[in-house]
């Protein structure tokens, strides 16, 4: 027997001047998810069940950019992806290109547990979701006003290629202008 342990993340690439309330919201969500996971581990739940449960909770909260509050494509649509891996036996499942599945990580779990494959994408993944009876929602569930605004800013910047959100201009740090990433000042990058 070893001691249990859990680690979570909500994305990298944080605007140095992220407003205090946004920082506090992120800390609150992470603390809640840690408590959820720790409680399950104390109760003897298996690691693979706990990671699915915690990521489902993170997907449901729009503070981070998976599930509800998802990042948007250049067309303003949502294409979500997720994976899960059980170290015991190195079993795994993954999904990409989801547009209606409320919790992508749980579909990845079903790919692992109930399909002969490791990875399903786009139409095939959506069809599998319906076969398995997972909860689906209208694409608009995932789209938040904040992300629509961020997409507009990203289009105006015409160059946000990686997993970082463009913050509203007044949150940008003027003092961080020396560092650059993807040819742009690091200060324009905010949480994913």
């Amino acid at each position: 027997m070893v001691g249990w342990a859990i680690a979570v993340h909500g994305g990298a690439g944080v605007d140095p001047s992220l407003p205090a309330e946004r920082q506090e919201a992120a800390r609150r969500v992470l603390s809640r998810c840690l408590a959820l996971g720790a409680s399950a581990l104390r109760a003897g739940r298996a690691a693979v069940d706990v990671v699915e449960m915690v990521v489902r909770d993170l997907e449901t909260d729009p503070v981070f950019n998976s599930g509800r509050g998802s990042a948007l494509t250049r067309d303003g649509t949502v294409e979500m992806e997720a994976s899960i891996m059980d170290g015991r036996g190195r079993r795994c499942g993954a999904v990409s290109g989801l547009t209606t599945v409320k919790n992508p990580v749980s579909l990845a779990r079903l790919v692992m547990d109930r399909s002969p494959h490791s990875y399903l994408a786009f139409d095939g993944a959506e069809e599998f979701a319906r076969q398995q009876g997972v909860e689906v929602v209208d694409n608009s569930y995932f789209v938040t006003d904040e992300n629509v605004s961020m997409l507009k800013l990203a289009k105006e910047a015409n160059s946000i290629l990686y997993d970082y959100r463009v913050p509203i201009p007044e949150t940008c740090s003027a003092g961080a202008g020396a560092m650059q990433m993807n040819g742009l000042p690091i200060s324009i990058y905010a949480p994913e």
Partner: protein, 130 residues
């Protein structure tokens, strides 16, 4: 991107990662999160979930490399994480969280910050950004 890595009381490791990808991405783009060995990996040695510049994480097989240096070079978890961030990402920007089968927790990132937290059976509980 969000992710979770866990080792349970029996020493079994697992990890999961979920994302909407990047803002303003091309339709059809696949990132690192669903790619086993890149953004997500778990084995007997450890469990890892990555976040950040997906294309760099894919090139570096970041999650698998943490496990590989533990298995092949005998590194401890934090040492393996530090090595992977420093030696594998080139100039890419990313971060990761990890747990080992021995109950350790570790993280690393070369961005300004990473939203993260950890808890252990011994009572450690920590949430941080920078």
């Amino acid at each position: 991107t969000v992710g979770c890595a866990v080792v349970d009381a029996n020493g079994h490791c697992a990890s999961a990662t979920s994302t909407g990808g990047l803002m303003n991405k091309m339709c059809g783009r696949i990132g690192d999160s669903p790619l086993i060995g890149a953004g997500t990996y778990a084995c007997g040695a450890c469990a890892v979930s990555c976040t950040g510049e997906g294309e760099a994480i894919i090139r570096s097989t970041l999650a698998r490399d943490v496990a590989a240096v533990m298995e092949y070079k005998g590194m401890r978890l934090q040492e393996a994480v530090d090595w992977a961030i420093k030696e594998r990402l080139d100039e890419g920007k990313a971060g990761l969280i990890a747990v080992s089968g021995d109950g350790e927790v570790a993280f690393g990132f070369n961005t300004v910050g990473m939203f993260r937290g950890c808890a252990t059976e011994q009572g450690l509980m920590e949430v941080a950004i920078w």
